[in-house]
Structure formats: structure tokens, C-alpha cells
Amino acid sequence: METEKRTLKKSSLEKLFNSLKGEGKKIIAPVKKGSIIDFCEVSTIQEMAEDYLLTVQSAKSAAFPKIEKLFDYVISQEGVSTKDRNLDSIPEMVLFGVRPCDAFGFDSLSAIFNWETKDTIYSKRLEKLSIISFSCNKADAYCFCTSVNGSPGSIAGSDILLTYAENDEFLAEIITEKGKIIAEKSDAFEASKDIDKSKLLADVPVLFDVKKVVKNATASFDSEIWVEQSLRCIGCGSCAFVCPTCACFDIQDESNGKQGSRLRLWDSCGFSLFTIHTSGHNPREVQSARWRQRIMHKFSYMPDRLDVIGCVGCGRCSRACPVDMNIKEHLIQIAKDKI
């Protein structure tokens, strides 16, 4: 479908919100929670945070939540019986007020979850998900979306993209069929005006050539650079968990006597025991090996096998990192020749 350009008055934003609410959809939006901004279910548009750059967490939990039940099981005399998730119980959800980098992240996640075999639960969640994004008119020093084929006004992954113009108006881009249906039902959009989007976006300078990062990382498995870069890394999971494209998971069974559930949980390649084998051997025994894995997975293995870069340049990992690893600085260093 070709993107349709319309206009949305700021005063009609609530009309759009209420139309979605009226259809019984679960609306997830950025909300101020104490000292942080994070995604939360909201019932009125007034609960939404105003004037925020980004949420601490990414929006990936709408399709890949931190705990996902895969099936229930019961152990009896006859053996083990399982009961699959009832996918119809997954509610219709709307991500309202995410950023282009969040929406873009779902492309990478889908590449992994639907690689060769379609992940039914993830895909069902994505099918029931509508994404209404707001372009970025400001950025901070941690953002680098333009260096990884993104942009503060990118339409990739969104159903509707709203870019704030002057005169209390948004340039509205209706990108997908899903977005078209939402627009029609809400009756909140007006005819398009001649608005130059490029003038309304934040200035995010390109800081490195991502093709160089891919080439240099791929050629430098044995380089000392990974040791130097990772000495201060303490091996927690903050970066992986807030990242829109990190998809590593752990499978755990939670039992209650002779019955229980199998759960899929977030996991991080940065944890020291992530790759430990039952024999006790750990192929990634040192943090430098795990840091190298993080960079190469996103910038070498994924581009090679899935034709997609595993990073959207949102900078969340760097903001959340307790020891200031700052992935942007490391990528700039890797992009230079001779590492």
C-alpha cells in the first residue's frame, strides 16, 4: 500500500485515542513512573507522558514479553498432557506514542522469530498489534539511528507516523492497511497539507559507516579490541533487556506439584552462564568473548544471515548501562580501519 499523507490536529489526538479505546483495544503508551518514563497501559490520553525523548524500555514486550507462557502441562499416570496457549486470548493492542526506532526494531525481531519457522505466538501478537509512532524532533548524544539505516522520521515498522508541525498540527502518514482502517474508524484525520517533514525532525548526524562496522567486525574475531572495550563491562543484562532488537530467551518450567507451565523468558548473552554446557565447558568464558558476541551478532551474523542489522541506534543500551559502555563509541572505534 502506498503511504497516504493526511493531517491530524493536536486537539483531535484524543479523538483518535478514544476511537481505539472504544474498540476495546489495550493501549500502551509512555507514562511517567517516578523518575523514569516507561511503557504502561493507559485508559485516557491524559495519563501519557509529555515531553519525553524515549522510554527506558523498548516496545518489544508488546510482541515479545519478559514472560511468555508457551503451554501448560499435567503429569499423570498416563503420561504428560500439554495444553497449548489459546492464541485468541491475546488482546488487540496499540502502541501509542512510540518512536520510529521502536517501530523499526520489530523488523529485526521478526527476522529472528520467523526465521525458517514462524513463531506462532510472536506472530499472533504482532498481528494483533497496531503501532502509532511519533517522529523525533529532538535527540540526545546517545542516539545514532541515522548511522544504522534509520531516521528520526522513518516510517519503517509503523502503521501510522505522526510528525509534529507548527500550528498544533501533525503531519500524519498512514502507512499500512491496518493504519488505514484505524484512520477511517477514528474519523480524526483531515486532508493533507503541504508540510515539509525534513524540517521538523531532530538532527542526528551520521557518526560511522555501518558497512565498515560489518566488514571490520567480521574480520576481527581474534582482535585485542574486544578485551579493551569490555574491561569495564560487569556482565548484567541491562543492555539486552532494554534493546528493541535483542531476542535471546531462556525456557523454564514453573511447576506446582504435578502441573505447571513452560515459560519463555528474556535472557542475555552478557550473562556469564549464558553459554555454559552441561559438561561444565563454557565457550564464552570471559567477558570479552561475550562482548564480541554482542557486537558480531548485531553487526555481522544478522546482516549475513538475515539481511538486517540488529541495531536501530536508539541508544537505550548506553543510557541503561550501569558502567557507561556506550555502544556508539565502540562502533565508531570499530568502523575505523585497522582494529
Binding site: I67, R232, S272, V286, Q287, S318, A320
Partner: protein, 267 residues
Amino acid sequence: MNELIAKAKYLLSSKTVDVVIGYGKGSGKYARAEFIRKLDDADKMIYNETCIQNLATYVQKHEVKHLGKIAIVANNYTLRSLLVLASEFQFTEGQVLALYITPENKIVEMPDFKSIEDHLATVDTGLKPDEKEIVDRIEKMTVAERWDFWQKEFAKCFKCFACRSSCPLCYCTKCMTESNQPQWIPVAASDLGNMEWHIMRAMHLAGRCVNCGDCARACPMDIPLNLLTYNLIEGIEKDFGAKAGMKATDISTLSTFKPDDKENFIK
């Protein structure tokens, strides 16, 4: 901090130490850890009010330990952490050289435990008044209010373990969360799993925590984890007169007992 840079260069060139752990300019609010092994890198070192991270956590990181003898820029919390680690036989005297920087920016070398102990005896590293005030406020709530407060905080947790990784005293190579025979603490970041994790971590730090606050600073979701340990520290000082990390020969509060420990709830 020219004196610090010169000191680091001297320590490295004279082979007194193999690596100097200090602070360098960070990309955000706080300074970051720097591991100086080459003389030129020492120019990166700074010391100011952004240098808050407790660097003692790196003394236990085996990739750093293998670099050899360590010099570490230490504030009072770091010094106390080092003594707790020493009392738990995590390193021998002489393996770590502490560089304490006074409020007047003078550098004091502390090569042995006694020098650290003597220094700590002269400073007050107890709970600050505003920390005491927050703990008091929570203690004044009813049990139901406290339950709601903490359940709301724990719900934000997604078990990234930044709190554990940033703490110098959480150094178990196999943490209790990583045991599955039996599974003590659910791996999932469910309400139950989060509550059990945080209460159990606080208990494993009882009598050992030095109140550096890195756990709360490390948490990406800003959960006030240090409040759990503040409360413990206050109770332990009152009931047992004990304070972690003041002497390298201390035995932690939970590892010992007095026949006349006074309680009022066992019938």
C-alpha cells in the same frame, strides 16, 4: 588531576602494579571506570564529584584479576568494600594498592590493611540523615502499605541483575539464582520471583553491605534497592554494634553470634 596521573604513571613504570583502576570522563552523568595499563592512557584519569561508582567490584572480576597487581582509586565506600573482601579471603594483603583521594585532593597510598583501617576509623561512613529519613518514612507505614510499596517497585524489575553485577560483594561465581537443583529463586521476572530475589539478595548482604548505593544507581528501572540494605544496616548496628568493612579481620554479622544476643520475639 595531575597528581593522580603522575602517581599512576609512576606506579606503572616502576612496575609496582600492573594496572591502575580509576575514573575517566563518562558520556553521561557519572564518570566511567578506566583500566590504565599503558603510560599514555593515564592521561585519561580524572577525579571529581562524578566519580561515584564503587570500583571495588572490578577487583573480583577475573579478567581484571588476571592482569596482575592492582592499584585502585578508592573512596571510603570502596575502602570498606575492600576490607570486607579481605575479611572473606578474596585477595591477600599487598595484591591491591588503594589510592585514597582526600577532600583536599591529596593522594594517600594505602598498601596494607592497617593503613585502610586506620583511615576508616577517622571518618564517618554511616547512614546519612536523608537516607535515615527515607527508611524511617517507610517504617512508619502500615504493613499493608509497605507491601503495596514494594510490590509496585518489584513489578518494574526484569531481572537484569545489574544490582548484583555492580555490587562488589556479590561475587559468587554461581549465584543462588543460577542453581536449579533445587530452583531456589524462579528465573522469571514474575512478581514472586522478583520479591524473592531482592529479599534474598539483601539477606546475603546482611552484615556485609557497605551502603555504597551502586545497586540502586545501576538499576535501569530506578528501583530503590539500597533501601532494603539501609534498613538492614541500621538494624545490625543497633542490635549487634557491627559495621561492615572496618577491619580486615572482621567476621561478618551472620557468620558469628554472641551467647547473649538479645531478642524479644522468641517465646
